[in-house]
């Protein structure tokens, strides 16, 4: 038997850290521009919290894009549904929400979040089977179907809850700020950042340490070959779609508490941000999505403080700049 002579040794695989340095650089560059260190820290904490919430909402969408090649313009519906479902738990237990004890607050918040995730995930199952399944591989029809689904979902929420804004006050123990010197960091933002990090680490562990994760990563890159290896990727599609929907529901609850209100069109303002994050990050890349979400939140917060007039277009400008640098996003996973 002839042994293959390996060709020249490969260089060690390089870790692409340029995208990771981007938010760090942006944060450092804004220190002298903002001037006050305490304001900068407050804005940075706000950026991290907002970024984590956007990441939670966008992470499912990027996997759905990458793995299933589905343009789900209705992703925002899961956010709104998640937020509304949470009010079903939060409203009857308003007294517990307003109690002084953190544990009592969490005893209401946790079931609210879990119920929202369950309902959004179940809605994801229905949407995938009814709206997406007939139009796999047909982008135009996917846009039409999912946009239609979003409109139906919004109108259903109007019909069930009415057009009024529903207040979702923060639990008492999550109100206020941690004061460190002359820096005030809102407690809820700390919690949101921690939850976002936990979700990010959990997704990374699943993707990198389990066979299921390997299948998802491989499927994002080449669905056909995964099937040729004997794996039924349709089931994987459904699982990822439901998980993505459930995460969007969780993000909806967190956003509702962040804004302290829920309304049927709340997803409209978020959908654009989420799509920008997914495109900036690179379709199918969780790491790219994470960095993209932080960048979008930083640009919104720092930009809103420094150049308020640019706030409306700042994220579009960010997307254009990043796509000029890396046309397939920060971390290109798929060839699409």
């Amino acid at each position: 038997m002839t042994e293959l002579v390996a060709t020249d040794p490969l260089p060690k695989p390089k870790r692409d850290i340029a995208p990771i340095l981007l938010p760090i650089t942006l944060a450092l560059v804004t220190i002298p521009l903002i001037g006050s260190p305490s304001t900068w820290l407050t804005l940075t904490a706000a950026s991290l919290a907002m970024g984590m919430m956007i990441f939670i909402m966008a992470s499912g969408l990027t996997l759905v894009f990458g793995l299933m090649d589905v343009l789900n313009f209705g992703h925002g519906a899961f956010i709104a549904v998640g937020a509304y479902v949470a009010t079903l738990v939060l409203a009857p237990f308003a007294a517990s929400v307003q109690a002084d004890s953190l544990w009592v607050n969490l005893a209401v918040l946790a079931p609210a979040a879990l119920l929202s995730m369950a309902v959004s995930g179940a809605l994801g199952l229905i949407v995938e089977r009814v709206l997406i399944l007939p139009v796999y591989g047909q982008h135009l029809k996917q846009i039409l179907m999912t946009t239609g689904g979003l409109i139906v979902a919004e109108q259903t929420l109007y019909a069930l809850w009415g057009p009024q804004i529903i207040p979702t006050p923060l639990p008492t123990s999550l109100r206020g700020s941690f004061i460190i010197g002359d820096v005030a960091i809102a407690k809820y933002r700390v919690l949101a950042t921690l939850i976002g990090l936990v979700v990010f680490i959990a997704i990374q562990l699943v993707l990198n340490r389990t066979k299921l994760g390997l299948l998802i990563r491989a499927g994002v890159e080449n669905r056909e070959m995964v099937e040729a290896l004997g794996y039924r990727i349709r089931r994987l599609f459904l699982g990822v779609f439901m998980t993505g929907s459930a995460l969007a529901g969780l993000g909806g609850v967190m956003w509702a508490l962040y804004r302290e209100q829920v309304h049927a069109s709340m997803s409209d303002e978020l959908t654009v941000l989420i799509f920008i994050v997914v495109i900036i990050g690179g379709l199918g890349s969780i790491g790219g999505c994470f960095i993209g979400a932080i960048l979008v939140a930083m640009v919104a917060n720092y930009g809103g403080f420094l150049v308020p007039k640019l706030a409306l277009v700042s994220n579009i400008l960010l997307m254009v700049a990043i796509l000029m640098w890396r046309p397939r996003g920060l971390y290109a996973v798929t060839s699409r």
Binding site: M1, T2, E3, L4, V5, A6, T7, D8, P9, L10, P11, K12, P13, K211, L214, L215, R217, A218, V220, E221, N222, E224, M225, V226, E227, A228, L229, G230, Y231, R232, I233, V333
Partner: protein, 240 residues
């Protein structure tokens, strides 16, 4: 000798194009059957149709007596068919190890099988934890073949494994495929490299315009220069 794979009157349409126009072929158990033909003759489409990646619009495909033409690709793979596509299709974001872990569908990697594979492809051991995307073309082909043989398969469908590879790598690949063959594997191998085809093939099928235009012994075709020129527009001498 029994036929492991049989295609009878198989037609495949891709969009409005009628690619396979009534393919009849048989692959004998334990033998290597070469599928030759000019570019665009329908060789890759034949493999993809067997694999269920493109649906046969008419005809029958059976594997070990079981009809598979309307089965989904994962089900066909689970019947014991390994597929090495022309594009190699390694998962470039995954490491070499992860590519093989995924291919070992039925459980953890078998150490003795792995050592056997490392015997052919030592580069895979060296780059075990490297991303497959950073491998050279030859190494990717090694990984693609290793993925197909990491667990015993009834049938291997291999599409142009020597395409674009350096001569030294081609020779090594031929030796590797010979060894796989010696272990009793049944192989349907698409190949443009006539030298490789002669070295590996027991039987040969030649395709043109979506049909089989010749079937017979590989050795007979290899020794018949006028027939090679008529069927393939080339002769073995020009490929030595």
């Amino acid at each position: 000798m029994t036929d492991l794979l049989k295609l009878s009157g198989v037609h495949t349409h891709i969009g409005r194009y009628h690619i396979l126009q009534g393919i009849d072929l048989a692959v004998t158990q334990g033998q290597t059957t070469m599928l030759l033909g000019r570019n665009g003759a329908g060789k890759t489409t034949t493999l993809r149709t067997i694999m269920g990646l493109w649906q046969a619009s008419r005809g029958e495909i059976s594997l070990a007596g079981e009809r598979i033409e309307s089965r989904a690709t994962p089900d066909i793979a689970r019947l014991g068919v390994g597929y090495v596509p022309e594009s190699m299709a390694v998962f470039s974001d995954l490491t070499v190890k992860e590519n093989l872990v995924l291919a070992a569908r039925d459980g953890p990697l078998d150490d003795s099988q792995l050592e056997w594979i490392f015997g052919f492809f030592p580069a895979l051991r060296r780059f075990w934890l490297s991303r497959a995307g950073s491998l050279s073309g030859g190494q990717k082909q090694m990984l693609s073949i290793a993925r197909a043989i990491i667990e015993p398969r009834k049938l291997l469908l291999i599409d142009e494994p020597t395409k674009g590879l350096a001569p030294a790598i081609v020779m090594a690949l031929i030796e590797c495929l010979k060894e796989i063959k010696r272990k009793g594997a049944t192989i349907l191998l698409v190949e443009q490299n006539f030298f490789a085809a002669r070295e590996l093939g027991d039987n040969v099928l030649v395709m043109d315009n979506g049909t089989i235009v010749h079937r017979g012994d590989m050795a007979a075709l290899a020794s018949d220069v006028p027939l090679q020129e008529r069927l393939l527009g080339l002769s073995l001498e020009t490929h030595q």
